[in-house]
Amino acid sequence: MAIVSAIAVITRRNPVHAALSLIVTLLSLAGFYLMLYAPFVAAVQIVLYAGGIVVLFLFVIMLINLEQNIREYQFNKQWVVGIVAAATLGGLLAFVYRAGRNAFPSAFYSGFRGLEADNTQQIGLALYGQYMLPFEIASLLLLVAIVGAVVMAKKRI
């Protein structure tokens, strides 16, 4: 389902349909995270991606009126080269996965306890302990992004 709706994202003519297919992709990815014992990342995925970023996309699509744009040709002139490049990348990935399919450790990491009830607590401790500096840098990045978005969207630059 993730793959099918991802294909729909890049083939739909109407950008609103593409954004809705993106929501389906993100929700099925959140399901994958739940299957991988990562409930906090799944919740963040739903709230931040499906609730925040896609709504931002939809706002911009509504804001810029694309009435005649939908009827235009949707692919650029380099599409043959693009598809060949992507197929080469896919072949490379398939080769690597095929050659190394027995290289992954089959056991979980030591101390793995299945679905942990304190997953969120563990992530919080890691964020504020070992990853303190990257966390602060991420907050600075968000501040810069807010200021940049406001400056870009102003009437007169």
Binding site: A6, I10, M35, V60, P105, L141, A149
Partner: protein, 101 residues
């Protein structure tokens, strides 16, 4: 049907990554290109979380950092698109070919 191993998640993530690459390289609409970039970042996230099942919690922490970066990138990119559309009345990448006008 066997057990779902890490390799299955990696194959799904590779599929998402390739679809995103095709979208970035072939579409004309900038908004769709940004959505394809989101697809690529999500493929990377799926890889990180799949490996965090094998190697500990660090992959999930990095996935959260990647989500933060994706949010910042989407905000700035959409702001740039709005500014462009106000000036040029188009969102097609092959008509946006000037840095200054």
């Amino acid at each position: 049907m066997g057990e779902i191993t890490t390799l299955h998640y990696l194959v799904v993530a590779a599929g998402l990554f390739i679809i995103g690459t095709v979208g970035v390289l072939t579409r004309r609409n900038v908004i769709i290109i940004l959505m394809s970039i989101e697809l690529i970042l999500n493929a990377v996230n799926l890889n990180l979380v799949a490996f965090s099942r094998l190697y500990g919690l660090h992959g999930q922490v990095f996935a959260i950092f990647v989500i933060t970066d994706a949010a910042a990138e989407a905000a700035v990119g959409l702001g740039i698109i709005i500014a462009f559309f106000r000036n040029k009345e188009t969102v097609n990448v092959d008509e946006i070919d000037l840095l200054k006008w």
